[in-house]
Amino acid sequence: MNDMRIVERDVETREIKIRGDKVQVFYGDNHAIKDVDIEIQDKTVTAFIGPSGCGKSTFLRCLNRMNDTIEGCRVEGEITLDEEDIYNKQVDPVQLRAKVGMVFQKPNPFPKSIYDNVAYGPRIHGLASNKADLDVIVEKSLRRGAIWDEVKDRLDAPGTGLSGGQQQRLCIARAVATEPEVLLMDEPCSALDPIATAQVEELIDELRTNYSVVIVTHSMQQAARVSQKTAFFHLGNLVEYNETGEIFTNPKDPRTESYITGRIG
């Protein structure tokens, strides 16, 4: 429909991985997500932006049903992964979470060795039949987490003994070790210095070749740098969802415009 943007055409040929339809989330009486319709594409980085408290994390957590663990949280509407309703009664959230991995805002490695941190997921999902396989998976994951060179000599050291940025990359390695199809990242760089941030961003860009990545960020620059699609949330509504370039250069909604120019926040 719009021939001028080649990039967009490229994006639109991709399959839809996750589809949200009239999603509502309530925390008790608090209506945190209102009527969100969204289509998240495969092999794409999608960024969620918006002011604090607008529901980005809440919506992200809906996508792998981490909200199930929150007392009093209720999700309505439909969310599908590969056209399958993830809130269907037959779906075991454990299987879903193996497909939809998550990296949290605060690095949270297990208080175990670096090796065990990464090996834990493959072990419980039976991805490796022997120690050698597991070693391969661990090395591959740590390499993808851009942390292999720093830790290869001390895989037995506790993961909690790493610096904040290293811990976050370890968590990313742990998330990719289970070979998920979608990777959700909630402000993965908020605790990182610019160098580590750059490493993580580079990593996200690489991950795009295999996964659908959804990233929540407070940094417009980061959203612009790493994502192809951007969704702007405001007060629980999905205000605008479009190509990243489009959102930042030519926002349709006045609220989006004031946010990216720094007037709401």
Binding site: E71, R97, G101, F104, P111, G121, T160
Partner: protein
Amino acid sequence: MTDASANTPATPRVKTSLLELGERTKKRNAAEARFKLYGMMAVGTGVAALLLLLISILSQGLPAFTQTFIKVNITLDESVLDPSGNRDPDEISKVLTFSYDPIINDSLKGLALELSAQHSEVTADVLQDMISAEAKGRLRADVIANPDLIGQTIEYEFLANGRIDGYMKGRVTRETAELDGNVTPLQLDVADAMIVEEKLEKRFNWAFITAPDASELRPEAAGLGVALMGSAYMMAIVFCLALPIGVAASIYLEEFAPKNWITDIIEVNISNLAAVPSIVFGILGLAIFINYMGLPNSAPIVGGLVLTLMTLPTIIISTRASLKAVPPSIRDAALGVGASKMQAIFHHVLPLAAPGILTGTIIGLAQALGETAPLLLIGMVAFVNNYPESIFDPATALPVQVYNFTQRSDPAFVERASGAIIVLLVFLFCMNMIAIILRRRFERRW
């Protein structure tokens, strides 16, 4: 935009020096110094009380670990002890303690002869009253345990009577002996003579720890063996029941149970249960375990069950607290890589909570170890002279044994009560050590 007027100070600023202390700072510092002093006084009081307690118990109780023995040469006459001559333990067991009297008397005659150089009035009868009434029984037990001794003349040590032992420990003097029907000043003189001849010796007495209790008249033979075994059995029962039940209940309540009025009621009741006086648990045990279920009186199994009920709330409360203290981010991390709730709990939460759970368990066990009141009600206060062979046999417990000792009139039991307290404290100390070692092994950083 900021309000410019809000930033201007209301009063003009007075120039102050950092090198001088202001009025308020001085006051604050004084208050802090006072508070530190109070704190130190409080700690000091606590430490002083503890020291006083320890010193008094140790000074009173340590003598209980030594006992006085009288050395004799004794000929174990085969014709009396093993008439058939084939050293069959069954045959030897048939010889009653009564038959040992002449043998002992002979040996005492020999001793009297040896002592005659020191003291002219020594006779076998005087010596007979100086050895414990328990001596015969112990000699017989030794012979049965070691039949090869029969026919030989061996050096043997008789347990000295409680009064002679008291004389050695400074409890009995010639003045008190005048007034005492159980000992005469003559016997004390003889004791002095025996010391010179090196026939009387005070030394460490394992029997205090291993022997069963003895009657009121034989304080020198009373030991803690049965009580120790009873306490150990009960601790094992409490540990094996209360820990798994308590931990399972806590995990369920904390992680799985829906939050509704039923779980609220359960929660309130667990807290209340922790505050129920222990004697109530004793009545419960008497009514349910003994009267209704028909379990035997005085048995460690009943004591263990009652103490388990008593310990459960403590374990549940501390386990839940330590489960709560595990950061939620660890759970999220585990769930995020696709672990099930149970995997998240057992692989990650429980190991992190283990030190806290262990601490709670040991506190509960320590309480149970020192508990007396409920045991009185279920009959563990009885006089038990046989070692319990299983948890269904009658036994006593350490704190009850302390109570028993204090109820007896013979002053020799005073040191035994304190000695039993020392054993109880050592038992506790060992349990705490185990807990600390285990905790060290489980402790991890996060």
